[in-house]
Amino acid sequence: MSNDAFGFSIDMTVRNEWRNVDLLRTSVQNCFTAVFADVDGCHAIAMVTGELLENALKYGDWVSGDRAMFRLRVHGQLNQVVEVSVQNPLKADDANGNTLVKAIEWINSFPKPEAAYRARMLQIAQNDEDESPSRLGLVRIAFEGNCRLAAKIVDGHVTVTAALDLSSSAAG
């Protein structure tokens, strides 16, 4: 067994309770700290975990079920590719699915996630009324986490995946 090719993964269900977001976020942070020396990278993976789980709990259909699926994979040579996915049920005809897909397309339409993040912040500042949701989470994942985002909707379930390449260091 070669160390270089030895990735790891976490697959679990998460109960729909808000405090579980932070429990899992800190667990992921601790787990990665045990594996990698890169403190900043560990914080980024934990942040991505937190933002994705928040969304699953906020926008999932928690009438038909009470669990989200959390999946994290580390692979690639020297374990530098990290993929975090969260799956949640979606209500039939729920506009959030469409909003999500559009949000990701919008982010990916920028040459760099930093530009998307900046644009979103300026939009928030321009909208005077307190709009909730703020729609800063996904773009933060892309920018601060240096992630590529993707979403898939199949059979009433949405899966959002953030892929992070630890080898290409993010802005800054």
């Binding site: 900043d40 937190g50 930093e114 912040m121 500042a125 933060r140 601060e144 993010a170």
Partner: protein, 121 residues
């Protein structure tokens, strides 16, 4: 002015003799809807600072984590401070990459009016 204590988040307030309200964020801001908690507290803070014609210094060096909805609340704070002519400084830890990225991005709100500044410790 009282400290804010809500869930995992604490904001400690200390008033300096020069009228600077020094607010130190500790713990984590991970509530489902942080603006719900932060907004009323910010309003009280602004009222208190306004009375004394002071200014605000927000210190984030000790905070472990905040979610994206907290950032929205910070953008709102920057706006309301500027609108009411209250000087606001945000201080962060430049050695932490996540803080550097989050706060450097807020520089889009710095203008030549001296009302909002970012500073690293």
């Amino acid at each position: 002015m009282h400290n804010l204590q809500s869930g995992d988040l604490t904001i400690e307030v200390a008033e300096a003799p020069d009228g600077v309200m020094r607010c130190t964020w500790k713990g984590k801001s991970n509530e489902r809807n942080p603006p719900e908690i932060l907004k009323p507290w910010f309003e009280k803070l602004l009222a208190s600072v306004g009375e004394k014609q002071g200014s605000i210094e927000m210190h984030f060096e000790k905070i472990e984590h905040f979610n994206s909805s907290t950032i929205t609340a910070l953008i709102r704070l920057i706006q309301i401070c500027r609108k009411t002519n209250v000087k606001l400084v945000m201080v962060y830890d430049q050695s932490l990459k996540w803080q550097r990225l989050s706060f450097d991005a807020l520089r889009v709100f710095e203008k030549n009016d001296d009302l909002f500044h970012l500073r690293f410790a």
